[in-house]
């Protein structure tokens, strides 16, 4: 080979080669048995009433099982570190994906209540102020909707008589 590769200052003739590693067959049997035992454990735990702990416990056992498969069956424990880097890099991106989406999910209610940016119809209906999303802020569409649903005015907080332009303004006002 014309170009010699140096690693840590030393000449490395087989730097570009993948490394053979043959695990003894007994290792695979042990890993398989461990996987069966852990499956039995998840199965048994699902009948025990752990309350809010059940999801973290189930995920924890699944992570151990997945690590066994990745490390031994998929050889990442003995493989070139570059493949491990690809795998762990993927997990980091999945972590970002999950983390930010779940943060959003948790913060969403508080933000909606504070800024009223998102209309939750059921809750407002229960509170007596019905807002039809996309209708209440458009006078012509509201008038059409009111005409098509005569019973609708009852729950609107108004007296149920005044349909039309006046109510459209009222509906718009209730939103803010």
């Amino acid at each position: 080979m014309s170009n010699t590769i140096f690693l840590n200052g030393k000449e490395s003739p087989d730097a570009v080669e993948t490394h053979h590693h043959v695990s003894p067959a007994s290792h695979y049997v042990v890993v398989l048995m461990a996987l069966f035992v852990l499956t039995g454990l998840t199965y048994a735990v699902s009948f025990a009433d752990l309350g809010p702990l059940s999801l973290p416990v189930a995920i924890f056992v699944a992570v151990i099982k997945a690590s066994l498969v990745v490390a031994f069956f998929m050889h990442l424990k003995y493989d070139d570190k570059y493949n491990l880097f690809v795998f762990l890099g993927t997990l980091i991106f999945i972590g970002i994906f999950f983390g930010f989406t779940l943060f959003d999910l948790q913060a969403r209610d508080a933000l909606n209540d504070e800024q009223r940016t998102f209309v939750r119809r059921e809750e407002q209906r229960n509170a007596g102020e019905v807002l039809q999303v996309g209708i209440s802020n458009d006078p012509t569409r509201l008038a059409e909707y009111e005409a098509a649903h005569p019973g609708h005015g009852e729950a609107h907080g108004g007296d149920g008589e005044a349909h039309g332009e006046g109510e459209a303004a009222e509906g718009g006002a209730a939103e803010h």
Binding site: A25, L32, A58, H75, Y82, F97
Partner: protein
């Protein structure tokens, strides 16, 4: 593949007929193939992670509905399939090992690779048969996604919005099932190549990469099973 003078050839005397001309050594070729496989597996993981996230979001929105609806999935069928897939992962790992220690052009060693591949294929078949019975029971009871949901007409009252749960159930297990079917196709292809005596300690990247794919299918199921079938 060039049979012309290979002056740049670095390892002495090694000239494997399976070595592509743009690689220097078999080790380099196998390493490149495996890195490519891991990059592909990364995209697979990212694809499935979207579905898992959808599951967690739905669970966050409707915890009671998910807990109520998941009771209608068969824990036994899911458990059997988990064991079948784990066992098939072992047979696949053994197939790779048989190739790693195989002597070139040795019928006995090739037969060993083929035996483990057949066992893996058999397990994949059992998995799909069990899945078929599970799916047909869900179809029969009208426990289907979205507008196809008719379980209430069959006498099953599930609280909340179970058609959403069965949507995510069918999407996740369905995509996983497609991967099992594809895996069977790959296994048949590798089996045919093993029959031609292609694989040995000098050349086993094909078996190894098929194995990596199959273990990923197992990996996804390891998370699917507790989340969909078991969790309370």
């Amino acid at each position: 593949m060039s049979n012309a003078t290979h002056a740049a050839h670095h390892t002495t005397g090694e000239h494997n007929p399976h070595l592509a001309h743009h690689f220097d050594t078999m080790g380099q070729q196998a390493g490149a193939a495996k890195l490519g496989m891991w990059l592909f597996l990364a995209t697979e993981l990212l694809m499935f992670s979207g579905l898992f996230l959808a599951y967690f979001v739905i669970r966050g929105f409707y915890p009671d509905m998910v807990l109520g609806a998941h009771e209608y999935l068969s824990k036994t069928a899911g458990g059997i399939n988990t064991c079948v897939l784990l066992f098939s992962s072992w047979t696949m790992a053994m197939a790779v090992r048989a190739a790693q220690v195989g002597r070139p052009n040795n019928a006995e060693d090739s037969a060993k690779i083929k035996k483990y591949l057949l066992l893996t294929l058999l397990c994949a078949g059992i998995f799909l048969v069990v899945k078929y019975f599970e799916y047909s029971a869900k179809f029969e009871h009208g426990m289907l996604p979205g507008k196809f949901y008719t379980a209430h007409l069959h006498g099953y009252e599930i609280e909340g919005l179970p058609h959403i749960f069965f949507g995510i159930y069918f999407f996740m297990t369905g995509l996983h099932g497609v991967h099992v079917v594809v895996g069977m196709g790959i296994m048949i292809w590798i089996y045919m190549r093993a029959s031609r005596g292609e694989f040995s300690a000098q050349n086993y990247a094909g078996v190894e990469n098929a194995g990596l794919y199959w273990h990923l299918v197992d990996l996804v199921w390891i998370f699917l099973f507790p989340l969909l079938y078991l969790v309370k």
